[in-house]
Point group: C2
Chain length 487, copies 2
């Protein structure tokens, strides 16, 4: 346990400093590791990420993806097979060039995977033979490494991060397009419904696609400071890679064809940054019950040596009844700490519910339940504890989700006035709907002139029609897009 | 699904070839990845390893270990802090020396972790301050890389493998020694009781310790060809690393002291080799129910279009009743394959139980249950399916465990005659109990003269007393040890 005191910064006064403090004081990550851009993920964060991974993996397996593990090292020659891909990723690669004590040179440089297309697809070419082998849907839970120039912020951006990448092959373009839809559904089912993080799904502009993709779609959420954080993206790869890696199948008519591919990459170690940021408050983390390693912390209020045993016994009884009901509780029986210290500690850690049990409560056959998200306190009869706890957990989940959704919704703007757009992005942040000509150069200028505003793309499934001119260059606008600052 | 036929080699005639075929035909690993010593782990193996990891992680968390994730890259200067450690591991390190498109040199070489002591312990020095922070018990689930010269065999030996490493710090030597005992208990609870793999626990000879350890203890199991495979080892590190990395705590009297450390490393991707080898038979894998991704495969026997629906409905009903009872079943309803093909396929994959359901069975209110391990077939009344399935799964688990245990036991020999020892190791393999002088040179000579016989160490907890002379050099023997060939 940490002896550090609680947060000393208010979230709405200095979000950046608040974030730094939460990460450190709730013991989520340590930035003092001595390789630039690499952080250590501490137990509480790993326990949360494990829950997040589990929910994602369950959903993916339900949808027919199978887990695999590919080597972390990719030969340079593989890496260079798809022209656009290599151009996009080459600047971000860490290279293994030596091995053994003497630093003996390796024949061919080996890339530490920044993403696994070029590790996987040569194997796809060996495994996929006939229409019977399709659809072929693989996922890998792993870490990847990217030598990025931008400053490191734990979880938000670092040179090593943890994700799932799914890689899929289909007989037809239509099926591949359907997979993109399915990935969006997965994103909604898990990231929205389970992690309580709202997002908008965009089709990225041509100039901002994944290197090697035909189209890139991505979910953006809005952070409390009005900047956008990209959550999973899903890529329609078409036949770009299947042609480079010769991934062919024989269809039912005996014809040999290239497969159509997609990939999808939810970065759990990045998404947790949204969880921390969106739900947390001035006391620390607030965890959605679905991903809280401990959902209920039970704190014995011991007032004398005589009642120690009876209070601890009651705590254990409540613990067991909650466990039986599928809830994850824990009793904090540390005799060296006061109840007050424990209240603060577990609030900082974001445990959704607290139960207090003291001798007086036992005499009146009740316990005290306190919600982490709103501080609401209620006295509950012992025999109603399980039901009330379940209700409260559902209530918290719902309320966190709504709050985050409302925040996103309250920061959606509509403007055809470039000066107004600049002002919104500078003052409040958020996403502004604008008309845009579609040209990369215009987007680049806009980024400079708005001090970092980036075109997120067109909102998926909305078919928003452009009715005016590009807000910046005045040319005919081809699309209605959203602009925002980003992480 | 694979269209390859079943195994063409008998396990007891050519174990090595049998192993190669099982790994390939049950689609466990693919050795065709184009970096030497690296293999691809395919879905069925990953699903099994995930179960294995889960059981280990549960046990470790129950025993107070907390998960963490440390960077995969370790600066050369860290790596060199503990003299013996660096000497032992330096020959096995892959080095990252360049990054970015231009192959820009990195200031300091970064080691791809071959093990994580030197990544973790600098952080321990920051986190551990007082007696309050002890015991400190961390575990990491990750992969490690070792540039080894020996030939690759999937799972048994490769340059990238998946494990858990626990790293622990204590206030006293006694507590550290207790942790070693606890690690043995963990090994027994998980590897023996859950994976059904028997082993002997040895204290390794001085010359065969982990680089940087005071003592090394390791579990050895016996493979079907009479060679030993090392399973987890646990190391008493003493204060070797705490002194190199300055990991100190202030005790209750205000005195500053170095911590005592241990570490423990169950390599799941290696232990699965023992699972494949010990339990498999001439039809393929045989999985212990505790780690089978699918415990029961339900196969509809459809004889006409008319009865398709009723048979599939019954399969689904049985599936659901099993799921409700906590069993993991699957219905193989693939209309393109015959029941016979499916029987072979799922036998190859090692699914412990098969249920067959046809129209005639439905009319007589029964199903057919077939055990994978012994082929035993029984007709079971529908309302008894759940109980009989549970019984059968327990029976299989017990029987696999006993069979493996008996094999190990039947291959333990006792000899004080060096020629006899040579003959046993050459003919049948197994472990031979001998007297040994304790000198490394003598062990080296023995290894040469017995064509690979290695001293495993003294059997833990037995205090076997040496009563004669070293079987090789004739000097006074200091210890009773076991010798065997090894992987």
């Amino acid at each position: 346990m940490s002896d550090d005191k609680g947060l000393t910064v208010k979230k709405n006064e200095d979000f950046s400093q608040w974030y730094t403090q939460v990460v450190q004081k709730a013991e989520l990550a340590d930035i003092r590791y001595n390789v630039k851009g690499f952080v250590v993920f501490r137990p509480w964060a790993v326990l949360i990420m494990n829950k997040m991974f589990q929910l994602l993996e369950q959903e993916l397996e339900k949808k027919g993806h199978q887990p695999a593990l590919f080597p972390a090292l990719i030969p340079e020659s593989n890496f260079k097979k798809e022209a656009e891909h290599v151009e996009g990723f080459l600047p971000e690669v860490f290279w293994v060039t030596e091995a053994g004590g003497e630093g003996e040179k390796i024949d061919e440089r080996l890339a530490l995977r920044p993403t696994s297309e070029t590790a996987m697809y040569q194997m796809f070419a060996l495994w996929i033979r006939s229409w019977r082998d399709l659809p072929f849907k693989i996922y890998q839970r792993c870490q990847v490494w990217r030598y990025e120039g931008k400053a490191t912020r734990p979880f938000i951006r670092s040179r090593e991060f943890y994700w799932i990448e799914t890689h899929n092959a289909f007989a037809t373009l239509e099926e591949a397009e359907k997979q993109v839809q399915e990935d969006m559904e997965t994103t909604d089912n898990v990231i929205h419904k389970e992690y309580a993080i709202p997002f908008l799904f965009f089709q990225r502009p041509e100039h901002d696609k994944f290197a090697g993709a035909v189209h890139t779609y991505a979910a953006d959420t809005l952070m409390p400071d009005g900047k956008v954080l990209q959550l999973p993206s899903t890529h329609l790869l078409g036949q770009n890679f299947s042609k480079s890696f010769e991934i062919k199948f024989v269809d039912k008519n005996g014809e040999s064809k290239y497969v159509w591919q997609t990939c999808y990459g939810p970065a759990v170690s990045r998404i947790i940054a949204a969880v921390i940021s969106m739900h947390g408050d001035n006391k620390g983390l607030v965890l959605p019950p679905t991903i809280a390693p401990i959902q209920v912390i039970i704190i014995p209020i011991i007032t004398s040596k005589e009642n120690t045993e009876i209070v601890l016994a009651k705590c254990k009884e409540i613990l067991e009844s909650l466990e039986k009901a599928g809830v994850s509780p824990k009793v904090d029986a540390d005799a060296e700490r006061t109840p007050g210290w424990k209240f603060n500690y577990w609030e900082l850690k974001g445990v959704p519910l607290r139960i207090e049990i003291g001798p007086r409560d036992i005499r009146s056959g009740q316990v005290v339940i306190v919600r982490r998200d709103n501080g609401a306190k209620q006295f509950v009869k012992e025999n109603e504890v399980v039901n009330r706890v379940k209700e409260a957990l559902e209530g918290i989940q719902k309320s966190l989700s709504e709050k985050a959704y409302n925040f996103l919704n309250d920061h959606l703007y509509d403007s055809q006035d470039y000066d107004e757009v600049k002002k919104i992005l500078a003052d409040k942040g958020g996403l502004v709907r604008i008309n845009w000509c579609g040209l990369e150069e215009c987007a680049e200028e806009m980024k400079n002139e708005t001090n970092g505003g980036v075109i997120r793309g067109t909102l998926l499934g909305k078919n928003e029609e452009a009715k005016g001119n590009c807000i910046r260059c005045g040319n005919t606008s081809t699309q209605v897009v959203y602009i925002s600052k980003q992480y």
